[in-house]
């Protein structure tokens, strides 16, 4: 294997590692052998070969593909046939979308970025997929493409009602191609390693809850069930270990009488199989609702691990939403909206107020908490400058077995602005919980068994 290729491979591996994908030396060597076996004739085969040897799970694939595109680009430099005529390009794009010709779409993406994506001085300081898409506006081609396809097939069969969605998916794919192409052009000008680390979106489980877009949240929601299954096995394992608990001294000594007072057989303390109770207090105000929704769904999916799960939602007033959540598992996307619509969460104003909400909880729903209850508070502790009502929190901690606070904000942000996080953190154990990975680790560790 020639040095430049080996170097290319190792920098690809380094970029993957920077995204938190663990790739060992052994796998890198395997990847090199795969490259040797496959040759460089077909780029897509090379992509699959490297993915098979370097990756360990399908969640890593969305990171791998753009990184691969940067290190093994489809072509170098500008496309041969450039165009500056916007209408002409749109015309050809519509035809390609109607025919669903993927190779042609990729070429058009290159032309589009070349023609409309450059900004700055004429040699171009950079390439922007946003600017390209803003000028080409592929989404406005829908009607034209639909007419084109229908004109060609002529029929109005049953499957034609799916046409709009299919065309939308093709347009979405084209947008992806443009983004890839823009990244490639930028990487040619600047440091490729930098772009591979910065411009590629992280894996879904490392996306910040607070900055996740709509589609990312939808993707996260799909991971709830598998994650819950994993956590359930982890809890079961912890339970098994805990069942073989500490030594019961009294019964060990009693048993030792038959062996002349020598404790031959230690007797272990038996645990009472009592399933713990769980209470969730969730801030569902706009800023953190993505985080709360996700956690609620996760806990709901884990509900058979507990004897009782009760979920309360608040903005500045608190209300129980356990029932909504039970029925809502089928339609996870609409959960947030339904909670907002059906529960009484706001009083005189619409912004969150932790002090009032927690006070109301301690007063009205205090009976929900007993000595076997573990309480999780989910929220950023941004209480809009009002009184944090530490007395109510103290009251809750006194009655509950444990209280944990999961905060979706970065730890360095706690206490800035209107955040009352440090005050609350003195009373309850507060953890930073910014993404699914952290949440999974925390839930697996903190949930009572």
């Amino acid at each position: 294997m020639t040095t430049p290729v080996a170097e290319r491979l190792t920098s690809l591996v380094a970029a993957l590692r920077a995204h938190g994908i663990r790739v060992g030396t052994g796998e890198t060597v395997d990847a090199a052998r795969a490259m040797e076996a496959l040759g460089f004739g077909d780029r897509e085969l090379l992509r699959e070969g490297l993915a098979a040897t370097l990756l360990h799970g399908s969640v890593q694939r969305p990171v791998f593909d753009p990184v691969f595109d940067l290190y093994f680009p489809r072509r170098v430099g500008a496309p041969e046939a450039g165009t500056a005529d916007r209408e002409d390009l749109r015309e050809r794009l519509a035809a390609a979308l109607a025919a669903n010709d993927e190779a042609l779409l990729a070429r058009l993406a290159a032309e589009a970025v070349d023609g409309f994506g450059g900004y700055g001085s004429p040699g171009s300081d950079g390439w922007s997929s946003y600017q390209t898409l803003d000028r080409i506006r592929p989404q406005t081609l829908l009607a034209r493409v639909r007419a084109d396809v229908q004109g060609r097939s002529g029929g109005s069969g049953f499957a034609d009602r799916l046409l709009d969605d299919e065309i939308r998916r093709r347009i979405e794919a084209f947008r992806g191609l443009v983004a890839t192409e823009a990244r490639r052009r930028v990487a040619e000008q600047r440091d490729r390693d930098q772009i591979a680390r910065r411009a590629v979106a992280p894996t879904a489980d490392r996306v910040d809850f607070l900055f996740a877009g709509k589609s990312q949240l939808a993707e996260l929601r799909r991971t709830v069930q598998p994650l819950a299954r994993k956590l359930a096995t982890r809890l079961a394992a912890r339970r098994r270990r805990a069942a073989r608990g500490s030594i019961d001294l009294r019964r060990t000594l009693r048993g030792s009488l038959s062996t002349g007072g020598v404790p031959m057989r230690p007797v272990l303390r038996r645990r009472r199989p009592a399933r713990p109770e769980l209470v969730l207090l969730c801030d569902v105000s706009g800023s953190v609702s993505g985080f709360s929704d996700f956690t609620m769904l996760l806990v709901q999916a884990l509900h058979d691990q507990f004897s009782k799960v009760r979920v309360f939602a608040f903005v500045n007033r608190i209300d129980e939403v356990t029932g909504l959540l039970e029925h809502g598992a089928a339609d996870a996307a609409g959960l947030g909206a339904r909670i907002q619509a059906e529960a009484t969460l706001t009083g005189w104003h619409g912004s969150s107020d932790y002090g009032v909400a927690l006070g109301e909880f301690a007063e009205r729903h205090g009976e929900a908490i007993g000595p076997r209850t573990t309480v999780f508070v989910l929220g950023d502790a941004r209480t809009n400058m009002s009184d944090p009502n530490l007395a109510a929190v103290r009251q809750i901690t006194e009655r509950a077995r444990r209280v944990y606070w999961l905060n979706p904000e970065q730890r360095t942000q706690w206490g800035t602005g209107d955040s009352a996080a440090p005050e609350y953190a003195e009373l309850v154990e507060m953890h930073e919980c910014r993404n699914v990975r952290q949440l999974g680790a925390l839930v697996g560790r903190l949930l009572p068994i």
Partner: protein, 301 residues
């Protein structure tokens, strides 16, 4: 390439099965398995690098079928280890035939203990289970470890020795090393996270739902009687259902079932009534059926 770290000395001991990726696709297709480029590439590499293949993906996309197809191509015996909760060493690896050992002891009453001992721990009394079967003998073999995620974590430890060195240690007999490496396929539905150590020893392949064009070819191959236009509509509807947010999206197996149903019903084209009446073949939850019916405008009648 040489490996200064000495990490990899493993190469396939015998001539590779395939000459190129296209060769893989063509020969898989002969057995009736239409492979996507990613499947063909990974199978080719698993053969070339002599590494086990870990296949993940939703139910019904042909993970197990892949192993069967490879076995058919190679003219190899398929050895299958079906994992389940509680599968253990004596089910996966080997077991001593106690009853036969007792018979042997009582049959030779007047021989010395030393003679009897060396005799009853010989191969004659060994019951080989799939993992040991797969690495013994000179015939080509394909080892399929199905639903690996269902097995307990302890079994993974067992697999590590077999999969990295292709050897099994039986204390009474010594270490048995493969004279001919089997082609190993592990499947998993990801109901449990497999350990990193096991993943590192394998090539990873995720089989997702096929592209439209490939799925059309699969339906045409499996249900040859269905008319081409109807096949296309079937695949398009299934594609649309997969894009919806359903509890259980239809897999390739369901597509084929649906195509067969339509053929049996003698439907010539898809219309609201046919789709509504047969949606149960594709979707297995009532919530999903209702949601899909709403999205496909089936209630418009």
């Amino acid at each position: 390439m040489d490996h200064p770290l000495g990490l990899y000395t493993a190469t396939a001991l015998e001539a590779p099965l395939f000459t190129s990726v296209d060769d893989v696709s063509a020969r898989l297709a002969e057995t009736g398995y239409l492979a996507s480029p990613s499947v063909a590439t990974t199978v080719f590499l698993a053969d070339r690098l002599g590494k086990p293949l870990l296949v993940e993906g939703p139910a019904g996309v042909g993970k197990t079928e892949l192993a069967k197809a490879v076995a058919k191509i190679a003219g190899a015996e398929l050895v299958r280890l079906q994992c389940y909760e509680g599968v253990d060493e004596s089910r996966a690896l080997y077991e001593w035939n106690h009853a036969k050992q007792l018979l042997r002891i009582s049959a030779g009453r007047d021989e010395s203990w030393d003679e009897a001992r060396t005799d009853i721990f010989s191969e004659e009394f060994l019951l080989t289970r799939p993992l040991l079967t797969a690495i013994r003998g000179d015939q080509p073999k394909v080892l399929l470890i199905d639903e690996t995620d269902k097995a307990d974590v302890e079994v993974e430890g067992l697999l590590l020795e077999v999969l990295s060195d292709f050897q099994v240690t039986v204390p009474e007999l010594g270490t048995i090393t493969a004279t001919r490496r089997p082609f190993v396929v592990l499947t998993s539905n990801a109901s449990r996270e497999l350990s990193e150590a096991l993943r590192r020893r394998c090539l990873f392949l995720h089989i997702g739902f096929p592209e439209e064009e490939l799925e059309r070819r699969i339906v045409r191959l499996k249900v040859p009687g269905l008319d081409a236009a109807l096949t296309e509509s079937v695949v398009r509807v299934v594609g649309a259902l997969r894009a919806m947010d359903l509890r259980k999206v239809p897999s390739v197996a369901e597509t084929i079932d649906w195509a067969r149903t339509l053929l049996a019903l003698g439907a010539n084209t898809l219309d609201e009534t046919v789709v509504r009446d047969t949606l149960g073949v594709l979707l297995k939850h009532q919530d999903d059926v209702l949601k899909a019916a709403a999205k496909l405008d089936l209630d418009a009648l």
